[in-house]
């Protein structure tokens, strides 16, 4: 039995009353956050409070990382160097081709009077930690609104798309990975130009193509790149490779599993792309002839 304090000690409301007050408050916060999105300022304030904690907490990991970098062996450096030199050579030849192609492309675009694509600016960001949350695939990077990172910007690594900035704090930003369950990327099959929507599964190594008809031509090994029709991801970034196609006539859609190209889980650095969207305005809907509304009948008056 709960022991009631004598009335001459002022102890405030009973625990049950306090519980009701605080749970109502948190439920109100939940609803306000989930439905109304009013709480961004509050979140910013709290993030500033917890920022030093996060930096301190991720310090040991980065110290260990740096220490292990310091003790690299001679052979690994040599092999790295040889590999990089080789890659550099390969890239140099591609770059020359690219330059030629770019000038040619610019010329053609001018001829076509087309809008030339803006070259995207990028910011290098370091991954502070992967969100300690088994429910979602997110990482936190060390660039925030102070570095002009904005929500919605795509994040890539050297190989392909990693994810998308979903929430920005002053010095941090949260990136939802493409493997997150609720995350969708519109993609294009480079082999035949088929468009589809790539969805995360919540598993690290698997993505799924959604709503692809049974007879659509996808095969193992097909490369998927962003199609750019969503206006978020710039077109042409490699995203994934088809790894398994399962066609079962019992279902409406084919089940196509893909493997993400970017090392979504093991990175220390990523690039945030400040993609400037130059999409044309949406066509304005034709105004319908508008009848003047009848005078409002006041209810209850």
């Amino acid at each position: 039995m709960e022991h009631q304090p004598p009335p001459f000690f002022r102890t405030g409301p009973t625990p049950l009353v306090r519980l009701l007050i605080f749970s109502t408050l948190s439920l109100a916060l939940l609803v306000a956050d989930a439905r109304l999105k009013y709480l961004d300022t509050l979140r910013q304030v709290a993030s500033v409070i917890i920022y030093p904690l996060q930096r301190i907490a991720s310090a040991p990991a980065s110290i260990v990382h740096r220490a292990s970098e310091f003790f690299v062996t001679n052979t690994s450096l040599r092999t790295d160097n040889a590999r990089l030199a080789q890659e550099n050579l390969a890239h140099a030849s591609q770059l020359q081709q690219l330059n030629a192609l770019q000038t040619e492309n610019d010329h053609l675009r001018k001829l076509l009077n087309a809008r030339s694509r803006l070259t995207a600016r990028t910011t290098i960001a370091e991954i502070l930690y992967a969100a300690r949350d088994p429910f979602s695939r997110r990482i936190v990077i060390d660039q925030g609104s102070q570095n002009e990172v904005q929500a919605g910007q795509p994040v890539v690594d050297g190989v392909g798309v990693v994810g998308q900035v979903t929430r920005v704090y002053p010095w941090l930003a949260e990136v939802t990975l493409i493997t997150d369950k609720g995350h969708l990327v519109p993609v294009l099959n480079t082999r035949n130009g088929l468009r589809a929507v790539l969805s995360g599964t919540g598993n690290d190594g698997a993505l799924e193509l959604k709503f692809v008809p049974l007879n659509a031509e996808f095969a193992n090994g097909d490369q998927l790149v962003t199609s750019g029709i969503d206006g978020v991801y710039p077109p042409g970034l490699p995203v994934a490779e088809v790894s398994n196609v399962e066609r079962n006539a019992a279902f409406l859609f084919a089940r196509i599993i893909c493997k993400p190209l970017a090392g979504v889980n093991h990175h220390t650095q990523v690039l945030v792309v400040h993609a400037q969207q130059s999409a044309p305005e949406r066509p304005v809907e034709e105004e319908k002839p508008f009848k003047a509304p009848p005078k409002k009948a006041r209810r209850g008056a």
């Binding site: 709960e2 022991h3 625990p15 049950l16 306090r18 519980l19 007050i21 605080f22 749970s23 408050l25 948190s26 439920l27 109100a28 916060l29 939940l30 306000a32 956050d33 989930a34 709480l39 509050l42 979140r43 709290a46 993030s47 409070i49 917890i50 904690l53 996060q54 301190i56 907490a57 991720s58 040991p60 990991a61 502070l128 930690y129 992967a130 969100a131 300690r132 949350d133 088994p134 429910f135 979602s136 997110r138 936190v140 929430r167 949260e174 369950k181 609720g182 919540g202 889980n265």
Partner: protein
Amino acid sequence: MMQALGAHEILLPVRPAFIALTLVLAALLNVVPWSGWAMWVRPDLVALVVLYWCIWQPRRIGFATAFLLGLLMDVADGALFGQHALAYSILAYAGIVLHRRVRMFTLTPQVVHVIPLLLLNDIIVLAIRGLAGADFPGYRYFIGSFVGGALWPLISVLLKLPQRPRSDPDHV
């Protein structure tokens, strides 16, 4: 037989600065980036320490502290605002209501009280996530609570250390 810690001994009053320090340390350890299997066995240390102080110092630590720490954890997780706040508030309520009972027991039976409370904490977070549209992450999600329960004796001893009276050398 082991004596119930603190139940039959006279302790020094706890310093508020020490309570604050332990809570900050717990929050710090909670935001340490874990990955892989460590993410699953990681106990919610903030919940554990809040529960400890609610049981041993219910006059000092209560709903407001639990609520604010919950909000901080929500931001650190990037989760919906208020889910940890709600879970920790309910945990604080359980701690405050049960504090006289739990204090009667030795450390081992205390663990039996603590584990269900931590599980309740997990289930509340899970339920809110579920309502927001997340999938059930599997039963290994609950491992952390059992690890937290296993840490309870250690935490009890550690957090009580500054309150132990110094042994008097003149005393025979």
